[in-house]
Amino acid sequence: MRRRQMLIASGTVVAATATGVMSQPSGDNALLTVAREPGSATESSTATETILSGTVHETTVFERDAPRDGPTAMIFGGVHGDERTGIEVARDTTEWYPDAGTLVVVPETNRIAVDENTREGPEGDLNRHFPAGKEPVSDLARGIWDAVERYDPDVVLDLHRSLGIAGVHQQYVGQAVYHSSDSYGDELASYLNDVAVPWYMPLHRISARRTHSGGPLLFQKAIRDLDATGYLFETTDFMLDRDTRNEHTRLAAAKTLALHGLLEVGNN
């Protein structure tokens, strides 16, 4: 009897494990390959610019122009310096090749905070420095905004990381796409749930949440002042390891570029 119970238990574990392996989310290597490989964009040009030169906030902006015309997208990482996922993925995207348009990346937006691995820099929380109807309220915010105005992006994506899950943990905002009303926020969230979130982590499903443009966040100012389509992506470190967080964020960045025509894939 005991032997039979052991066999049943072992069989259950093996079957569940096999089911788990087979039901792992598929990811989207095809999309990431398109993003990483030059492909038809071999004639793309790259440039870097240092903004806030000679100041403690000095940081690098990476620009890659595709051979074909298209929208300009700006990706920001490190607005909060301890949110390493956004920084690492933004650094990855500096090596991506758009098929059309221009990709501009600022991987270490708040460089002092990035260096010190803290949320805020010496001037406070950078992502509260862009109030409606006023100039940015710190030297760093003004420097960043000057660069944003020069590039005049059609699409802005700001990469973040939260400690909990929006809608589950009341003061946290993770596993969510905050987006402007003219965006593909719903499509992006649906895509990420299909390719990145296992069905047996139902409370980690990514939600799409429309933002208003009246707040003091960088992407809200871009929506408000430049009429850009804005996204802020928040993954979570709650029960997700670093590789998984980065993969969610990497896919969010690639899909956003694909939805706006900067990357060409067959089925986006």
Binding site: T17, T19, G20, S23, Y200, L203, F238, D241
Partner: protein, 89 residues
């Protein structure tokens, strides 16, 4: 110790239930890719527990909910073990 209490606390069913709730989730905690459908019961208990705890006590870090989770899962396992014993007569 009373035999029925001893069995409720440490019967094979109690231990198996505890293992099912805790072990697959603990494995997935270390590496998300190792999380399987087996972890779903423990996952739901843990995440919903943190949701309730976070609403009551927003300042407490979410990782600290492992302690009540481990205690709560043992309580659930004891209840399951007891019910199994009663049904078995």
């Amino acid at each position: 110790m009373n035999e029925s209490i001893r069995r409720a606390l440490a019967s094979p069913i109690t231990i198996a239930t505890y293992g099912v709730l805790v072990v697959p989730l603990a494995i997935g905690w270390f590496e998300t890719a190792l999380l399987t459908p087996l972890a779903l019961p423990g996952y739901l208990i843990y995440v919903l527990g943190t949701a309730i705890g976070n609403a009551i006590s927003p300042g407490l870090k979410l990782k600290f909910y492992w302690i009540p989770f481990l205690v709560g899962c043992y309580a659930i396992a004891v209840v399951v073990g007891t019910i199994y014993d009663v049904l078995r007569g």
